[in-house]
C-alpha cells in the first residue's frame, strides 16, 4: 500500500515516523510512571516490604540489566549501519539485538519459575503483585519490540524503509530505560 502524501510532509523538521515514536514514548512514560508511582507510595507506606524485596534475585536482575544495555548498543549500531545503507550489517545487528531480548526473557522466565517453585506468585501480597505486573508488562513490551525488530530487519535487508531501523531502535532504548529504573526499584532497594 502506498503512503499518502501527508506522510512525507514534515513541517516540524522531525520525520513523521520519529515524531510518532516520541509521542508513543510520552504515553508510555505516563503508563509506567503511573504504575511506579503507585509502587513507590505503597513501598514507603509498608516498610515491611523490604524483606520481600530481599527475596528478588539481584544478581539475575543485574545480568538482565547488562544484557539490555548491550542490546541497546547493538541496535544503535544497526541504525548506524542502516544510515550508511549497509543493509546486511543492519540485518545482522538487529538479530543480535533480538537475541539479547531473548536472553533477557529466558533469565526472566527462570526468575519467575524460581519464585513460583518457592510458593510466591502474583497474589502472595501486593509487593509481589507489583513485581509481577511491572516486570510482566515490561516483558510484554520486550516481546513486542522483538517482533517489530524482526519485521523491520527483513524490510531493511531488502533495502526498504531503512528509517524504521531508527524508530524500532528508539523504542528499544525506551524499553531499556524502563528496566534501568525497574532494576533499582524492585531488586536493589531493600
Amino acid at each position: 500500500m502506498d503512503s499518502p502524501i501527508a506522510t512525507s510532509r514534515t513541517r516540524t523538521g522531525i520525520s513523521t515516523g520519529l515524531l510518532a515514536v516520541y509521542w508513543l514514548m510520552a504515553s508510555e512514560i505516563v503508563i509506567f510512571g503511573g504504575l511506579l508511582v503507585c509502587y513507590l507510595l505503597f513501598r514507603q507506606r509498608n516498610p515491611e516490604w523490604a524483606e520481600f524485596a530481599a527475596l528478588t534475585n539481584v544478581h539475575l536482575g543485574a545480568l538482565n540489566t547488562f544484557v539490555l544495555l548491550t542490546s541497546s548498543l547493538c541496535v544503535v549500531l544497526a541504525h548506524h549501519a542502516a544510515e550508511n545503507k549497509q543493509t546486511d550489517k543492519a540485518f545482522k545487528l538487529l538479530w543480535v539485538t533480538i537475541f539479547g531480548g531473548l536472553i533477557f526473557l529466558c533469565v526472566k522466565s527462570y526468575e519467575y519459575y524460581s519464585k513460583f517453585s518457592h510458593g510466591i506468585d502474583i497474589t502472595t501480597n501486593p509487593f509481589w503483585g507489583f513485581y509481577f505486573i511491572a516486570t510482566g508488562i515490561h516483558g510484554l513490551h520486550v516481546i513486542a519490540g522483538m517482533v517489530c525488530m524482526a519485521v523491520v530487519s527483513f524490510q531493511a535487508k531488502a533495502g526498504q524503509h531503512l528509517n524504521r531501523v531508527e524508530l524500532v531502535g528508539i523504542y528499544w532504548h525506551f524499553v531499556d530505560i524502563v528496566w534501568i529504573f525497574l532494576f533499582p526499584l524492585l531488586y536493589i532497594a531493600k
Partner: protein
C-alpha cells in the same frame, strides 16, 4: 520514493469494511457513536421510568430490579462518555476534518487509523458481552470504586465487572493509537503556508484534547490492570486487607477530570467554527483563546480531587484543590466571553447549526456556574452525591456530547454527504431537544438541593425524599425525557433521508473560509485531487475591509 496511491480502493470490502480512507473511518466512528447514543438513551429511559413509576414494568424493558438499575446507570454513564462523546467529537470529527482542514490527502498513518477503529469496535463487542453473561452487566457506577468493584461478593457481577473494565481498557487503547495519528498529522502535514495561528480552532482543540487524554490516562491504565487482577486472580491492590481503596479514586480522577476537558474542547472548537461562519466575523482573540486553552489543559491536571472532597482525603489537599477548581472556571469563562464577543456586531444568520452553537453557549454557561458550588469544598459536603451534581454534569455533558455533536453534524453534513439537510425539520428537532432537555434537568437541581441522593433505585424507601412534590418533579423529568427521545425522530428521518434525497450541496454552501470547503462535496479519495492547497492567511477572515467584493476570504486564495 514510492508512488502515491491515486486510485483508491475498488471493492466493497476495502472501501467500507476495511477502509484506509480517513473519511470512511470517520463515518464508521460517527455511525457507531450515534448507535451507542441510542443504546445509552434507551438505558436512561428505562431507569428514569423506574424512578418515576417505581416497581412498575417499563414498556420495552420489563421490571427494573435493583441490580438492573445499577447496571443501567453504570452503563449509561460509561457509554455516553466513552462510546458516544469521544468517538463522535474526537474520532469522527478529527478523522473527517483534520486532513481536509489542513489541506492534505489523508492521515499520516492510514493503517493505524483503521486499526484504532477495529480495536474500538472490539471494545463495544466486549461491553455488550458483559450484558449477557451470568450476573449481568457491571453495576458499580462508571467510577467503579473498590471495594465494590473488585469484590464479586459485593457487586454480584463476577464476569460483568472484568468485562466492563476490559471494554474501557480497549477503548482507551483505541484512542491512544488514534491520538498519536492525529497529533503527528497536524504537527507535520499541514499545507505549505499554514502557520501555527492559521490552524482552525477546532483542529487545535482536537489536538490538545488528544494530548490531554494521552497524558492523563497512563495512571488509569496502570490502575485498571491492578483492578482487573484484583477482580480476576485475587491480588489485593485495592482491598482493605493489603492495599488502599482510596488509591483507585486518585488514579481514576487524575484521568477523570482531564477527561471532561478532553470532551469539552472539541465541542467548543466546533461552536467557534460555526459562530464565525454564521456571524460573518473574525474570531475574537484567537491567540487569547489558544493560550487560555493551553492554560486550561495544564490546570485541569491540578483539580481532580474535587471529586473526592468527602472521601476522607487530607483536608489540606481539599483546600488546595478547591482553589484550583475555582481558578479553572476563569479560562473557560474567558472562552465563553470570546465567543460572545465574536457574535457581537456580526451579521447573524440563524441557520440550524448556528442555533445549536448558541444553545451550547447558553446551556454550558448554566452548567459552568453550578459547578462553582461543587468546586468549593464547603458546599460540596452537602451537594456531593446528590442530584445537584448530576444536573450540573448533565448541563455540561449534554451541551458537549449532544448539542455540540448536532451542531457539527448539521454544519458539516453537506460536506460529508454532498446534500443539504432540511432546515424546517432541523429547527423542530432543535427546539424540541432544547426545551425537553431543560425540562429534564432544571427540576433535578431542585431535587438535589432538597437532598435527593444519587444512585438510589427506589425513593419509596426514603420517606423524607418521597414527598408528593418531589415525586411529581421526578415524573415531570421522566416525561420530558420521553419527549426528548421522541424529538430525535425528526433528526433521524432528516439525517437518513437527506443523505439520499436532500438538495444537492455545492462545495461551500455556508461561504466559509477553511480549507475543507475547497474540496468537492463529498470529497473524493485524496480529497483535493493532484494539487493540494496552500494556505495564505488565517481561517477567520470574514468581512475583511480589504476585500471589497465578498464577505469571506478563503485560506487558499493567493490574494
Amino acid at each position: 520514493m514510492s508512488d502515491h496511491d491515486h486510485h483508491g480502493p475498488t471493492n466493497f470490502w476495502s472501501k467500507y469494511v476495511f477502509p484506509l480512507d480517513h473519511k470512511v473511518i470517520a463515518m464508521q466512528y460517527l455511525f457507531t457513536g450515534m448507535f451507542m447514543a441510542l443504546v445509552g438513551g434507551f438505558m436512561a429511559y428505562a431507569f428514569r421510568m423506574q424512578l418515576a413509576f417505581p416497581g412498575e414494568a417499563v414498556p420495552g424493558f420489563g421490571t427494573v430490579s435493583p441490580q438492573n438499575y445499577n447496571s443501567l446507570i453504570t452503563n449509561h454513564g460509561s457509554i455516553m462518555i466513552f462510546w458516544v462523546a469521544m468517538p463522535v467529537l474526537i474520532a469522527a470529527l478529527g478523522n473527517f476534518l483534520i486532513p481536509l482542514m489542513i489541506g492534505c490527502d489523508d492521515m499520516v498513518f492510514p493503517r493505524l487509523n483503521r486499526l484504532s477503529y477495529q480495536v474500538f469496535l472490539l471494545s463495544i463487542v466486549v461491553l455488550f458481552a458483559s450484558f449477557f453473561v451470568q450476573g449481568g452487566g457491571f453495576g458499580g457506577a462508571w467510577t467503579s470504586y473498590p471495594p465494590l468493584s473488585n469484590n464479586a461478593d459485593y457487586n454480584l457481577t463476577p464476569l460483568g465487572a472484568p468485562l466492563w473494565l476490559l471494554a474501557i481498557a480497549l477503548e482507551i487503547v483505541a484512542f491512544l493509537l488514534g491520538g498519536i495519528n492525529f497529533i503527528t498529522t497536524v504537527m507535520n502535514s499541514r499545507a505549505p503556508g499554514m502557520k501555527m495561528y492559521d490552524i482552525p480552532m477546532v483542529i487545535w482543540m482536537i489536538v490538545i484534547a488528544c494530548i490531554l487524554f494521552m497524558a492523563s490516562v497512563g495512571p488509569l491504565i496502570a490502575g485498571s490492570i491492578m483492578l482487573l487482577f484484583d477482580q480476576t486472580i485475587g491480588t489485593k491492590f485495592f482491598t482493605v486487607e493489603g492495599g488502599d481503596p482510596l488509591l483507585w479514586q486518585h488514579l481514576f480522577w487524575f484521568f477523570g477530570h482531564p477527561e471532561v476537558y478532553v470532551v469539552v474542547l472539541p465541542a467548543m472548537g466546533v461552536v467557534i467554527e460555526i459562530i464565525c461562519t454564521f456571524s460573518r466575523k473574525k474570531l475574537f482573540g484567537y491567540k487569547g483563546i489558544l493560550y487560555t486553552t493551553f492554560a486550561t489543559g495544564i490546570l485541569s491536571f491540578f483539580v481532580w480531587a474535587h471529586h473526592q472532597f468527602v472521601s476522607g482525603i487530607d483536608p489540606r489537599m481539599a483546600n488546595i484543590f478547591s482553589v484550583t477548581t475555582l481558578l479553572i472556571s476563569i479560562p473557560i469563562g474567558e472562552m465563553m466571553f470570546a465567543m460572545i464577543a465574536t457574535l457581537y456586531g456580526g451579521a447573524i444568520q440563524l441557520k440550524t447549526p448556528m442555533l445549536w452553537a448558541l444553545a451550547f453557549i447558553a446551556e454550558f454557561l448554566l452548567g459552568g456556574v453550578t459547578g462553582i458550588y461543587l468546586g468549593a469544598s464547603g458546599t460540596d459536603i452537602y451537594f456531593h452525591d446528590t442530584y445537584f451534581v448530576l444536573a450540573h454534569f448533565h448541563y455540561t455533558f449534554f451541551p458537549i456530547a449532544i448539542i455540540g455533536t448536532f451542531a457539527a453534524v448539521y454544519y458539516w453534513f453537506p460536506k460529508m454527504f454532498g446534500r443539504m439537510m432540511d432546515e424546517t425539520l432541523g429547527k423542530i428537532h432543535f427546539w424540541g431537544t432544547i426545551i425537553s432537555f431543560n425540562c429534564i434537568f432544571i427540576p433535578l437541581f431542585f431535587l438535589g438541593m432538597a437532598g435527593q441522593h444519587r444512585r438510589i433505585y427506589d425513593y419509596r424507601n426514603f420517606p423524607d425524599l418521597n414527598t408528593p412534590e418531589m415525586q411529581d418533579w421526578r415524573i415531570f423529568a421522566t416525561i420530558s425525557l420521553i419527549c426528548l427521545l421522541v424529538f430525535q425522530l425528526p433528526f433521524l428521518y432528516n439525517f437518513f433521508i437527506s443523505m439520499f434525497r436532500g438538495e444537492k450541496a455545492p462545495a461551500n454552501p455556508w461561504n466559509s473560509n477553511t480549507l475543507e470547503w475547497l474540496a468537492p462535496s463529498p470529497p473524493p479519495h485524496g480529497n483535493f485531487g493532484p494539487n493540494l492547497p496552500d494556505c495564505y492567511r488565517g481561517p477567520y477572515e470574514y468581512s475583511h475591509p480589504d476585500r471589497k467584493d465578498s464577505d469571506y476570504w478563503p485560506q487558499n486564495e493567493p490574494n
